[in-house]
Symmetry: C2
């Protein structure tokens, strides 16, 4: 972006636009999407929420896209058939792309059960801009937690096409991060993610929560 | 948002989320949408782009939604029938709402020809969060500018349902700001908008470009 603000009444405007690199530079951090996937009750929203709070407290610009703000608004016209789930994920990915373009660390928390849909989402971003976080948890544990009573209603047939009960969940083939929420606390999960982000050069080292868990991270293409 | 970072290993997490007010406070400015409407060639994108550059240079967090980043991505499945135009505007409005929730001054530049669609967009926001900017320009002038050759193609029938030629543009009934781009330069338009935003308490007074044009602004409901 080039402009001359020395004399605002003779402002010279070059026909360039404010771009992603301008925003990243101003914000002082990279922008990318953390794509949480996993069964209902696995802990996607809990972990994404805690992570967002930690990042925000460190001055990082974040936004969380989840069922609460997307399914009720932008995607209120969509149901839960395979076609509508695909369109739901496509729109979430496109909106996440806009937020990443805006310089924001974007967290998405959707079941996103199909491998092809997650690959489609990933294809919208560069290698370094998309981090797939598989929130793994046995369905028996998820069903026991069942914070919204959804498993109970699915098992009694009140909810159709519920993932893990009457609709498939395809296990991620090459997630960037795997969390085991039946074994780890939410804070441990957040520490693991922070460690990976620092390891991959997506967050700076002065992140006090990012500890030696860096060592547990897979090597990513395009890693800096 | 409440958290205790004194000892990161004993981080106390309250189950609250980072909210709109938290982001606004951190960014140091309000968040709202500037909804530019007008004919193709009226100057929506030119003015929105220049305004964004000026705001960005002042440290304000901004994002511009326009045909380039929305019609090609999120709304690539939509055409230009009345129904699809409505859905286009609905999605743009819902995405703008997410950006406003993220604490960002959001600029949208779409023809948005139907009064009912613009009202639908406005209904998603509080009174102070939605600023309708009518970019007024006689169609003869727009057709002369015709930067993309669209009017020529519309007149020869190559583009169907082109607004102003074969599809209606409904003049805004109560826009917050009216610009006359056949009489004003882009910079004069930007100064007028900045003056109004300061006048309405949406921007702080230390905006050097916001001058006495404040006087030209209408009084808005919920004005602070």
């Amino acid at each position: 972006m080039i402009y001359n603000m020395e004399d605002s009444h003779n402002l010279t405007w070059q026909s360039t636009t404010v771009g992603k690199q301008d925003r990243r530079q101003r914000n002082g951090h990279e922008s990318f999407v953390l794509w949480f996937t996993g069964l209902s009750g696995a802990g996607k929203s809990t972990i994404a929420n805690l992570l967002e709070q930690v990042l925000f407290a460190q001055g990082i610009h974040t936004y969380l896209l989840d069922g609460d703000n997307v399914r009720m608004g932008l995607n209120s016209d969509l149901g839960f058939s395979a076609t509508e789930r695909r369109e739901n994920i496509r729109r979430v990915a496109e909106v996440a792309k806009l937020f990443v373009d805006a310089g924001v660390v974007t967290l998405t928390a959707f079941i996103s059960p199909y491998q092809s849909d997650r690959e489609m989402a990933r294809s919208l971003f560069t290698d370094t801009e998309f981090v797939e976080v598989y929130v793994d948890c046995p369905i028996e544990v998820c069903a026991t937690r069942d914070p919204k009573g959804l498993y109970l209603r699915a098992q009694s047939g009140q909810i159709k096409e519920f993932t893990g009960v009457a609709a498939p969940y395809e296990t991620p083939q090459q997630p960037d991060i795997v969390l085991h929420t039946n074994l780890q606390t939410p804070l441990e999960c957040v520490q693991q993610i922070l460690g990976c982000l620092v390891s991959w050069g997506l967050l700076s080292k002065d992140n006090s929560l990012a500890n030696s868990l860096e060592d547990t991270c897979v090597t990513r293409e395009g890693q800096r």
